[in-house]
């Protein structure tokens, strides 16, 4: 082992830059030392952008350092800092996947370096890119491959893998090296079994983390230290506030008085905190909650490990230093994300690491396994594994970067779903509440929990969407993917660009496939915990829980709710005849309306209580030719039927039509049906009191039009038409749902005035002499 290290340092003398990361893989360094190396190199050796003259492609094989420097110079243009160190990760430095695409074309155009986009995602350090390029062009003479990836000294021979393994060997080598870091953690005693009073929380600006921050404050008396990535405390506080507000969470002085914001970074040694702060925290904290992670399904292990693995180990180091404290780690169900895994129980074996493909899955696996090793050092580690984290069931706050947001939006837009087995997803409010309950309950510490809720089956999802008026068709996964990609390319939706990138990336596709074909997660221990603590039991993330999220997705342009101009979900005609006359005159001019009433979805009915109207109004008093309805709406029981003026005349329906006559004149029509406590109930449902006037002017005509009694059933019940794309069963269901909903609403509306009249009668009863004691 010693020789190994000596050899390495000799090599490092010559090529310090590209060795930094690999050296870190050795067992001779602790996490913080390793991170410190990366940091120092990263900052000190950042390459200034070269002058334009430098950019000319230089042909022929080159030295690795020279090429890496050139690559770093190009890549530096696409990160916020404007420069990139040779061994710093492009994405960690702030590059986005859009930047990555630009980087690939820039490298090819300016340096003549052809790199595959997937290579960039797998490992985006300039050194690694240069190495890959040299290796692929056969110019790797200067850099022997054995030195490029340093195997961990414990395994002198290269890692042997079964023939069907899918992970890249260099990633596996790195994973083994990272796992070994857990062995350097200090030994620690058991923490005091008390609810936490001082908690460190990372990832408070993230989707789950921000909800957990609020739940920690609500359900414990703890003071929470939030580690936020920012230059200083003020910037960190602002960033945290913005994040909380963006997820519809409160950000008031009452929240601020119970938190301390620490500017820092889990990717740095000692979290980027000063030694003083680190030691104070190590001795004062009584709980460490690790939520922060880089969630990106395109990037590779090398690119994500600093955040997801080394970050978790730094927190383990903090938890084990000073006062013993439990570490609660948000892992992920992704640790099981292997195609063909038989079961996903809380204590079941994790996936085979050599068969995980996506870097995200690999890092979550490595972090959890490393923390398992930390348990042997006495550290109490709770691993909380959420599955898909759905939007908040009350506020609709969702995670825009999350794959499930994109998938749900695509399901709704294209009206197709890929055939999956189970969706292991739960709303963020439930996940966060249960995670916080485990953190606050000492008897729950130290175990693994699946926070996956109740899995949704394909049938459940199809039925839920039909319930919302979106009848979807099921397709095979490959068919669905091709179809969705084609549609996204034909009609690009900027908000869903990330989804098309995922659907094009081979690694992310493997991840999707494993997710969609995986078994249902089992969460017995979580269920016991939930029951023991009296928390809301896991419920299926169904249509009701998702409706707010779907509305939010539609509002932000990801999903799309059915709209007025689409093929209506259901429609029927309504004809009315009657007369109008001048205001305060006799209504002797005939007036009739032939309208088509339609709804785009049941959601429109339930949330807006509104029906769309098209059609014609024939009224010679306005124009000798029929007027067209430019825009029309009918509200059912508007304002809960509250009368316009004090009295018993409750509103039943409100019509508002904008009319255009043949000469281009514009008119408005306002109509009301009223419920009264009178016995002509049948007429009340049909008679429409109307007012008409020119646009922008007061009413010039008033009158009443009535639906003829003999046309009512013929048009409005027998005459209901339903979207022809639906099956006959779906059509019948749609028709019945509409009739039931509308009938119930009209019934309630008609009952209102009668109930008030009845109450007035009851109030005539003699006031009783009280017979109570104590008087």
């Amino acid at each position: 082992m010693r020789e190994m290290n000596e050899n390495m340092s000799a090599a490092a003398g010559r090529r310090a830059t590209e060795e930094a990361i690999e050296r870190g893989g050795g067992v001779g360094l602790t996490v913080s030392e390793l991170l410190a190396k990366v940091q120092v190199k990263g900052v000190a050796e950042a390459v200034a952008p070269p002058s334009p003259a430098h950019r000319a492609p230089s042909p022929g094989p080159r030295d690795l350092t020279e090429l890496a420097t050139a690559v770093a110079a190009v890549a530096g243009r696409y990160v916020p800092a404007g420069r990139l160190a040779l061994d710093a990760d492009f994405f960690d430095a702030g590059g986005t996947s859009v930047n990555a695409v630009e980087l690939v074309s820039a490298l090819e155009g300016e340096l003549g370096v052809a790199v595959d986009l997937d290579e960039v995602f797998a490992d985006a350090r300039p050194v690694a890119l240069a190495k890959r390029h040299l290796a692929s062009t056969g110019a790797a003479i200067a850099v022997p491959e054995t030195e490029a990836v340093q195997p961990p000294p414990v395994a002198a021979a290269p890692v042997t893998t079964p023939p069907d393994s899918t992970a890249r060997p260099e990633d596996l080598t790195q994973i083994l090296a990272d796992l070994a870091l857990a062995d350097r953690l200090p030994f620690t005693a058991s923490p005091e079994p008390l609810p936490p009073r001082r908690v460190l929380l990372t990832g408070a600006t993230g989707f789950l983390g921000s909800h957990m921050l609020l739940d920690l404050l609500r359900h414990s008396d703890a003071h929470v230290y939030c580690l936020v990535r920012a230059a200083d405390e003020e910037a960190a506080t602002t960033r945290l506030g913005e994040a909380l507000k963006s997820y519809s969470l409160p950000w008031s002085s009452e929240v601020r008085r119970r938190i301390t914001v620490l500017p820092g970074d889990i990717r740095h040694p000692h979290l980027g905190l000063s030694d003083d702060t680190w030691h104070t925290l190590a001795h004062e904290l009584d709980s460490v909650v690790s939520v922060a992670a880089a969630v990106d399904f395109l990037r590779g292990y090398q690119s994500l490990r600093t955040s997801n693995v080394l970050g978790a180990l730094t927190l383990a180091e903090l938890a084990a230093t000073g006062r013993p404290k439990p570490l609660h780690h948000i892992s992920s169900i992704a640790v099981f994300n292997e195609v063909g895994i038989p079961s996903m129980g809380e204590d079941d074996p994790l996936a085979h690491i050599d068969r995980l493909v996506a870097g995200y899955d690999q890092t979550k696996w490595a972090a959890e396994v490393a923390l398992r090793r930390a348990r042997d050092h006495g550290l109490v580690v709770t691993a909380l594994r959420p599955g898909g984290i759905g939007g908040h069931s009350r506020t609709g706050a969702y995670n825009p970067q999350d794959l499930s947001s994109g998938l749900i939006s695509a399901f709704g837009r294209f009206r197709t779903v890929p055939a999956f087995r189970y969706l292991n997803a739960a709303p963020v409010d439930w996940v966060s509440r249960v995670a916080v309950a485990a953190i606050c309950e000492p008897d729950a510490w130290g175990f693994d929990y699946n926070l996956t809720g109740v899995p949704n089956t394909l049938d459940d999802v199809v039925r839920d969407m039909a319930f919302g008026g979106m009848h979807v068709r099921v397709q095979d996964w490959d068919e669905w993917r091709t179809d969705a990609l084609a549609r996204l390319e034909a009609d690009p939706i900027p908000e869903l660009a990330f989804l098309s990138r995922v659907l094009q990336s081979p690694t992310a596709l493997k991840l999707c496939e494993a997710t969609l074909k995986g078994p249902a997660a089992v969460a017995e221990r979580t269920n016991t915990l939930v029951e023991a603590l009296g928390l809301p039991p896991a419920a299926r993330y169904d249509a009701r829980a998702q409706v707010k999220t779907f509305e939010a997705l539609a509002h932000d342009g990801l999903a799309r709710l059915p709209q007025k101009d689409d093929q209506p979900y259901l429609w029927f005609t309504e004809t009315t005849t009657g007369g109008v006359g001048p205001v305060a005159g006799t209504p002797d001019t005939p007036c009739s309306m032939a309208l088509t009433l339609s709804i785009a979805s049941m959601h429109q009915l339930v949330s807006e209580r509104r029906v769309d109207v098209r059609g014609e109004v024939t009224c010679p008093a306005l124009h000798h030719e029929p007027l067209t309805v430019a825009r029309g709406d009918i509200w059912i029981r508007p304002d809960e039927g509250i009368p316009h003026q004090h009295g018993l005349r409750h509103q039943l329906l409100r019509y508002r039509l904008e009319l255009t006559d043949a000469d281009g004149g514009r008119w408005w029509l306002e109509g009301h049906k009223y419920a009264r406590a009178r016995r002509d109930v049948w007429r009340q449902t049909r008679a429409l009191t109307v007012e008409l006037g020119r646009e922008g002017e007061p009413a010039s005509l008033t009158g009443e039009v009535v639906v003829p009694a003999n046309s009512y059933v013929r048009d409005q019940i027998d005459g209901i038409k339903v979207d022809p794309r639906l099956t006959s069963q779906e059509k019948r269901a749609a028709k019945l749902t509409w009739l039931a909903w509308f009938g119930l609403e009209m019934g309630r509306g008609l009952l209102g005035p009668f109930a008030r009249a009845a109450a007035d009668l009851l109030d005539l009863r003699r006031t009783q002499t009280p017979t109570e004691h104590h008087r």
């Binding site: 609020l214 509250i642 109930a755 109450a759 009851l762 109030d763 006031t767 104590h774």
Partner: protein, 376 residues
């Protein structure tokens, strides 16, 4: 007989004393809490309390509790309460125990009243009294449930002009109950009104075998919590089947004190409540008594007289008044667009837990502070 009730002790006639409110339960410095002897002009003794913020010149905030609750609901010693938060932000809290307070005996044994009395006497006279003490300083109001409903009647009657802002929780001008709740309220009220005149909530005071036992039994149907007081409030809202709060939001201490925080509900108020609820607007009860003519017959029709910004707050899970506040916002936006009315929904909260809940300071009071802060 196994179940034997002891007959209640006779109460002495009050000859030389008058009614006095039960002492407040709080953890403030007693010297900072000033109890003001306050009697409405129709002779009813009420409770008015001023909390001294230490310095002078702070804007005053009048806090109005809901029916059968009391000023104690803003002073919970076991949680971060609204008075704490207001004092820290530099306001001077004033607490009115109007005649529906459980610190006062009227709900159980006193003389009867309707919400007209509250809107005509209690609130305007308390506001006038506070004005004599605070001078020109701004006066806000934060009102809960029926406190807010009666405040809306006072405001539309023009009896409390010039408030700097009103934060209303639960219900304001357009009360709406679920059909089931309304039906059960009417049925229970009509059936029971010749037998009892109030519904107690404290099982320990009435005993196991009493005429109220069937009510408690009914309230315990499908209840998760074994506490009878919690059942009749959380599971049944005095037998109406609504839910007053989200159970998980109360601390154990608050849960144990429910019987102290919420008193018995009088049955004789039901006719007025029913009239208001069926009309979906706040309406006056007394049509022929000219003492009440200052009040509008229909508060919604008179909403144009509102001269102050209004913040409508409601928990998304309010089991009693449902989405009344959203309805109120929509109706006012359409009929009185000139009014400054905003609506804020508090996700996951019920009705009472917006003030009693352990997380109320985090989730609710921030909205109130923002509203007051913009207008102080």
């Amino acid at each position: 007989m196994i179940f034997r009730t002891t007959s209640p002790r006779p109460t002495l006639r009050k000859v030389r004393t008058t009614t006095a409110p039960r002492p407040l339960r709080h953890r403030l410095d007693p010297t900072k809490v000033e109890e003001i002897p306050f009697t409405a002009s129709d002779g009813v003794r009420l409770g008015l309390t001023r909390i001294d913020p230490g310095e002078r010149g702070h804007p005053a905030v009048l806090l109005l509790h809901g029916h059968t609750a009391s000023a104690d609901m803003f002073l919970l010693p076991e949680t971060r309460n609204l008075v704490d938060v207001l004092l820290d932000e530099g306001y001077e809290p004033w607490l009115l125990d109007w005649r529906g307070s459980c610190r006062l005996p009227y709900n159980e044994t006193g003389r009867r009243y309707t919400y007209d009395d509250v809107a005509l006497y209690d609130i305007p006279e308390a506001v006038a009294h506070i004005r004599t003490r605070i001078g020109d300083r701004p006066l806000f109001a934060v009102a809960h449930c029926i406190g807010s409903l009666t405040l809306s009647l006072s405001m539309t009657a023009g009896l409390v002009p010039g408030l700097a802002g009103v934060a209303s929780q639960g219900v304001f001008l357009t009360p709406k109950l679920a059909g089931r709740t309304s039906l059960r309220m009417t049925l229970a009220g009509e059936l029971l009104k010749s037998r009892i005149d109030h519904i107690p909530v404290d099982f320990r005071k009435v005993g196991l075998w009493s005429k109220y036992t069937p009510l408690f039994a009914l309230a315990s149907r499908k209840a998760d919590c074994p506490d009878p007081t919690c059942q009749i409030l959380h599971n049944s809202a005095w037998g109406t089947g609504a839910s007053l709060f989200v159970h998980e939001h109360l601390t154990d201490t608050t849960h144990g004190r429910l019987a102290e925080l919420l008193g018995p509900a009088p049955l004789w108020i039901l006719p007025h409540l029913r009239r208001i609820e069926l009309a979906r607007t706040v309406v006056r009860w007394h049509d022929t008594d000219h003492r009440y003519r200052a009040l509008p017959q229909n508060a919604l029709d008179a909403a144009a007289t509102i001269d102050t910004p209004v913040l409508l707050l409601a928990g998304s899970e309010n089991g009693l008044w449902l989405d009344s506040q959203q309805l109120c916002h929509d109706v006012l936006a359409r009929r009185q667009p000139q009014l400054d009315v905003t609506y804020t929904e508090i996700p996951g909260y019920g009705h009472l837990d917006t003030f009693l809940g352990r997380g109320a300071a985090l989730d609710v009071f921030g909205h109130i502070l923002d509203f007051l802060g913009e207008r102080r």
